[in-house]
């Protein structure tokens, strides 16, 4: 496929690998933000092409991973109601809550449906006026405009049987939380390309300046990732800390204005809990005053639910780049994708799940 295949060819990737080998004189630790990038790095073995001094740590950009346990419990509670048709992206269906998961609710007779787009949930609501249709709106800035459009359309259509269970999170506040932590080891960031396709990258220069870290907007194919790593390391070796764009075919500085305008209308910025990390100020989105009647937490009275995470799981440290999956004694034994203890094993794009799939030592 055009704009994919040519970015997977080995020749260019090798060229960057040689350039990086010739460039690096010191140990450096970089973090890729997005779980999609983590998955690509481990799948294509990008990290194995780098000199020993370069460590890639994996960031918190996996929406399934960072969705807090209590939101999953709220989803389970709502989905089990007889009047509800609960719609979700496929990734969330098998994420375990405190006691069960959405697939188990479905098996027990709940009307749980996997949708490809939030607009599919709007369509189900239009066609089934006697059902309460709830869409599970999780994800980062990449997904938020699509979810915003679903509720925008529902309001325009006057749908009273549609609502959103919202758990949106924002990337820049999480980057700042990592950088300002006393145990931080990240010296440069590969920023998440598709988040920037929506939001642009005007939020990053203040972060780069304040914490003196290079930030390179990076894509998802092996060549994109190698270019991002190369530019980031080049800055570090030259003592610079600037914001660069290595994903110009998809990302502009100002981002997608129509999408940002809709986000501003439908959502407002709120503090959010991140699974494994805890609450981060101004790091999430909730429905704005004008759209609050579409809030499923209020409609179904589940706003009060809370839940405690597994004490054994170190996913918070993995998500902040302090530990790697193999550092956890439960990895691959008491914690597997089938029976995950926490955030980073839950989703196939979580760092622990990616290592489990591609890097497990042969038994």
């Amino acid at each position: 496929m055009k704009f994919i295949d040519e970015y997977r060819e080995a020749e260019g990737v090798q060229k960057f690998a040689r350039a990086i080998a010739g460039l690096v004189t010191k140990p450096w630790t970089l973090m890729e933000i997005c779980g999609g990038q983590t998955h690509a790095i481990i799948k294509f073995g990008v990290d194995e092409l780098l000199p020993k001094q370069v460590t890639l740590v994996h960031g918190p950009g996996c929406p399934v991973c960072v969705t807090p346990l209590e939101i999953i419990d709220k989803a389970l509670e709502i989905a089990a109601r007889p009047e509800v048709t609960f719609c979700s992206f496929g990734d969330m269906l098998r994420v375990p809550g405190s006691r069960t998961d959405l697939l188990a609710v479905k098996a027990a007779g709940g009307d749980v449906r996997m949708v490809y787009s939030p607009l599919d949930a709007v369509k189900i609501a239009r066609e089934n006026p006697s059902r309460q249709v709830v869409f599970f709106a999780v994800g980062f800035e990449t997904t938020a405009p699509a979810n915003a459009m679903s509720v925008f359309q529902a309001r325009r259509l006057g749908l009273r049987n549609f609502s959103l269970l919202v758990s949106h999170v924002l990337v820049p506040p999480a980057m700042e939380a990592i950088l300002s932590s006393s145990i931080n080891r990240v010296q440069g960031f590969l920023a998440a390309g598709h988040v920037c396709a929506v939001m642009g990258y005007h939020e990053y220069p203040p972060l780069a300046a304040k914490y003196r870290v290079p930030i390179v907007v990076t894509g998802f194919e092996p060549l994109d990732i190698m270019q991002g790593i190369y530019l980031c390391l080049k800055q570090l070796e030259e003592g610079r800390h600037e914001v660069e764009n290595a994903y110009g075919r998809t990302v502009q500085f100002e981002g997608n204005r129509p999408a940002q305008q809709l986000l501003q209308e439908v959502f407002q910025v709120v503090p959010r809990k991140w699974r494994g990390i805890g609450e981060i100020p101004r790091s999430g989105l909730a429905l704005s005053e004008a759209y609050r009647e579409f809030d499923a937490e209020t409609r179904f009275g589940v706003a009060h639910l809370t839940a405690a995470e597994s004490p054994e799981c170190i996913s918070g440290l993995v998500l902040q780049g302090v530990k790697k999956p193999g550092d956890c004694p439960a990895f691959g034994t008491r914690c597997t994708p089938e029976r995950p203890l926490g955030a980073t094993m839950v989703s196939s794009e979580g760092a622990c799940a990616a290592y489990y799939r591609y890097r497990r030592p042969a038994a």
Binding site: M1, K15, L119, R156, H194, T250
Partner: protein, 92 residues
Amino acid sequence: MIMCLAVPGKILSVDTSHPETRMAKVSFGGIAKEVNLDFVPEAQVGDYVVVHVGFALNKVDEEEAKKVFEYLEQMGELAELDEKQSAEPGRP
């Protein structure tokens, strides 16, 4: 797929029958899907768009797409130059 996975596809046709929303048929390596174009009002038939959960997030900039390959070529030339220079005797 809620991960920030977004895939480039080519706009085959645009459905103009809905006054409030613009939908298109987009081909992903031969597989056609319905895609909402409301966030990319400038996108037209023949353009490539990056699609996430049924929405086009941006048009792919074909000029920008070439830049990494031009950069690689320049890097190649520089490396050759370096090798020649270091092969010269008397250089540190």
